[in-house]
């Protein structure tokens, strides 16, 4: 009965268009009151769900991304990508994919990627006579790399939800699958560009190259700081995030010097806005997840799935299908928080390492960001390209296929995710 109240009120409020975080906390409160639990307990869970040192990395990664963005990092990364890959057929499309790979190393957010790179690149591509739907599809599919390539604040959310999974291991583990995804999207982008005879990119003036490379690499050094700091044990994930933000501050205001330091007020406010959204979800999910544990829901789901499934491979397939379906209708952060306590035990009993599962989770839910009917990146990308969501989704079809192939590879070949973490003893 308690379980019915919890999930019943949750789904009902969800389809009533009540904000997701509010839905989570209200359904927890209703269930708690029914069970005779003091509502103060749920209030405590919200606070304690947020009272974690690893979560503190999130504001720093967001801040670093905001500072870099405001200081004009997008343009510099696009220029750098252009020097490296721009001269091939469909050059600008390839630059689009590759600059997202680079951007992923600075920002933990796929949405920030789409909005900042997309608003520069989609108009440029249109001008060079690329089809708009193709431009949008390339932009949004490539931006999903951001959730896999470190840093990724969604991975921190997963690490917290999973309890005790190393953020360092997740970060370094995501690199391989992230680059695999980049490669797969690049091949498809190139094949389509050749087929449709899109233009080659323009050559860059030789004398400009050193400055372009220097400016781009200075920004990219962020990921070196973060990964180097974590892997050497010199910094914790949170500390490395703080140092990355400090570095972004120095590069933007003392090296690039495009904007005055007084812009920090606006940057802080923007960081706060993003935080407000993400952190309410985390707090509310902590209360909801605690009730799930009280009601032993994870064990129930796990038992049911495992009795139903004949072998591990099929269990994993079921997990993937569940994640893709949920990803189609809900956003990434709340899903991570809700499904991790339920599906992680199933995944581990199917032989998956928690780090491996985390990376599969990122990719599966990342695909959800670009699929209809609810996909925030699909929405933003279509809005920037000024085309309908239906048209973008249709242009995305070959990209969906490629992403799902990559997802299957990552799910069934654990070494792709675990090779690097094992190598570095994380």
């Amino acid at each position: 009965m308690e379980i019915l109240i919890l999930f019943g009120s949750f789904f009902l409020l969800l389809i009533f268009r009540v904000p997701i975080a509010l839905t989570l906390i209200i359904s927890s409160l209703l269930t708690g009151i029914y069970m005779g639990i003091d509502p103060a307990s749920l209030v405590q869970r919200m606070v304690r769900g947020l009272d974690s040192f690893s979560l503190l990395a999130i504001p720093f990664f967001i801040l670093a991304g905001e500072i870099m963005n405001e200081g004009g990092i997008s343009r510099r990364l696009i220029n750098l990508a252009n020097v490296i890959i721009g001269k091939v057929r469909g050059g600008l499309a390839m630059v689009n994919v590759f600059s997202s790979t680079l951007f992923g190393g600075i920002s933990g957010s796929a949405l920030a990627d789409t909005s900042s790179l997309g608003s520069v690149l989609i108009p440029m591509m249109k001008k060079q006579k690329y089809d708009t739907d193709y431009s949008v599809a390339v932009t949004i599919s490539s931006s999903t790399q951001g959730v896999l390539i470190p840093p990724s604040h969604n991975m921190i959310i997963y690490a917290t939800a999973a309890g005790g999974v190393s953020v360092g291991a997740l970060f370094i583990g995501g690199l391989g699958p992230g680059l695999l995804l980049a490669l797969a999207i690049m091949i498809l982008t190139y094949a389509l560009a050749v087929k449709r005879n899109y233009p080659k990119g323009e050559a860059v003036k030789k004398e400009d190259i050193p400055k372009i490379v220097r400016d781009g690499l200075l920004g990219l050094f962020t990921v070196v700081i973060i990964m180097g700091g974590i892997l050497s044990g010199f910094f914790t994930a949170t500390e490395s995030a703080a140092i990355a933000a400090l570095y972004a501050f120095i590069i933007t205001f003392f090296v690039y010097r495009e904007i005055p330091v007084t812009r920090m007020g606006v940057i802080l406010e923007r960081t706060f806005r993003t935080l407000a959204m993400v952190l309410f979800l985390i707090g509310a999910s902590a209360a909801f997840g605690w009730l799930l544990a009280m009601l032993k829901v994870p064990a129930l789901v796990s038992d049911a799935l495992l009795t139903f499934s004949p072998n591990d491979a099929i269990t994993i397939l079921i997990i993937l299908i569940i994640l893709l379906l949920l990803g189609m209708v809900m956003d990434m952060a709340p899903l991570i928080l809700i499904v991790t306590p339920i599906l992680l035990p199933v995944a581990t009993s199917a032989g998956m390492d928690p780090v491996h599962f985390g990376i599969v989770l990122m990719l599966a839910l990342g695909i959800g960001l670009v699929t209809p009917p609810v996909g925030s990146i699909l929405f933003v990308g279509s809005a920037i390209g000024r085309i309908s969501i239906e048209r973008s989704a249709k242009a995305m079809l070959p990209f969906y296929a490629v992403m799902i192939v990559v997802l299957l590879l990552v799910a069934y070949i654990p070494e792709l995710s675990l090779f690097l973490p094992n190598l570095f003893g994380q």
Partner: protein, 312 residues
């Protein structure tokens, strides 16, 4: 308790299900003790009270569980004595180094009147202490050299828990104390950010610290016990006979818990030896006792009475 089913004050035979929070895994000695406690309570109350153990930290970390127990949402909990010091400063005495002469003395005291008196200092915090469980003795291990006597500790950077007393002990031994989150210790040992840490055999083994820090000095300097406790709101609902039954069950479960602990310690000890750890046995513990005297000078006033009663 605040959980399912009604109370039994009307004399009916209805069953009340209680929640017990445990942050170690299901097969850990403390969880084994919890389950024995649960079995005994059910037996002694003729099935009127059923206790479900939520192991593996499902209901939160120890400090969160304590707050929930204060509210009465969680009926029973097993936590270490260290976080309890925030409710009763007196319980902090259990962190003092070389507090007991030996194991026998320690358990004679903890299971006896002094132990119950110490638990009674929780009064006023909405918590009721029932019994102490074993979590062995903590010793030092390091990456640099076999440490045989306190002089060998000089200059080593040792990770400690974030408390003033923990820092004072390590510094009294001539080493330098580095407070750090437990999860970071492995890579910090590996990369040389610290030279050593301290813990009991099972933790040294399960945390894999033995992989990166091979010299383990068996000098058991500190033995904070675990505590089984009830929320006051559950306690107030119990009849006097039931209170007695809960207390008896708790004390009787200690033996099973301690056996499980001894077994795990032995297993871990063999496992780390096999993996190549070098165990340095300490013949003369008195020089270690002498070395921590400054800690007693500093905290003597605060814990004086308890130190006397526990040591007599």
């Amino acid at each position: 308790g605040g959980s399912s089913g009604a109370g039994n004050s009307d004399g009916s035979t209805e069953t009340t299900t209680l929640r017990l929070a445990e942050n170690h895994p299901d097969d850990y000695p403390t969880a084994i003790g919890d389950k024995e406690f649960a079995r005994l309570v059910e037996e002694k109350t003729d099935g009127r009270y059923v206790i479900e153990v939520y192991a593996g930290g499902q209901l939160g970390e120890e400090s969160e569980v304590l707050e929930q127990a204060q509210l009465g949402t969680i009926d029973l909990a097993r936590v270490n004595s260290i976080p309890l010091a925030q409710f009763s400063q007196d319980i902090g005495v259990l962190s003092m180094p070389y507090l007991f002469e030996d194991e026998d003395k320690k358990w004679e005291k903890l299971n006896g009147e002094v132990g119950q008196d110490l638990l009674a200092t929780l009064d006023g915090s909405n918590l009721v202490g029932l019994a102490f469980y074993d979590s062995g003795e903590r010793s030092f291990y390091n990456t640099k050299r076999p440490v045989e006597n306190p002089e060998d500790m000089a200059g080593l950077k040792i990770r400690v828990q974030n408390s003033e007393l923990a820092i004072d002990i390590v510094e009294a031994l001539g080493a330098s104390a580095t407070p750090m989150e437990y999860g970071e210790v492995y890579s910090a040992l590996q990369t040389g950010v610290i030279d050593g840490a301290e813990n009991n055999f099972p933790s040294y083994y399960t945390s894999n610290h033995y992989n990166v820090s091979q010299y383990f000095t068996v000098n058991g300097y500190q033995g904070n016990p675990e505590v089984l406790l009830a929320s006051e709101s559950l306690w107030n609902d119990l009849s006097d006979e039931d209170k007695e039954a809960f207390r008896e069950a708790a004390l009787e479960s200690v033996e099973v818990q301690r056996e499980a602990w001894a077994e795990l310690t032995e297993e871990s000890r063999e496992a780390v030896l096999e993996a190549g750890s070098e165990l340095v046995e300490v013949d003369d513990i008195s020089e270690w006792r002498d070395a921590v005297q400054p800690v007693y000078d500093k905290y003597g006033d605060q814990f004086g009475d308890w130190i006397d009663r526990l040591a007599e």
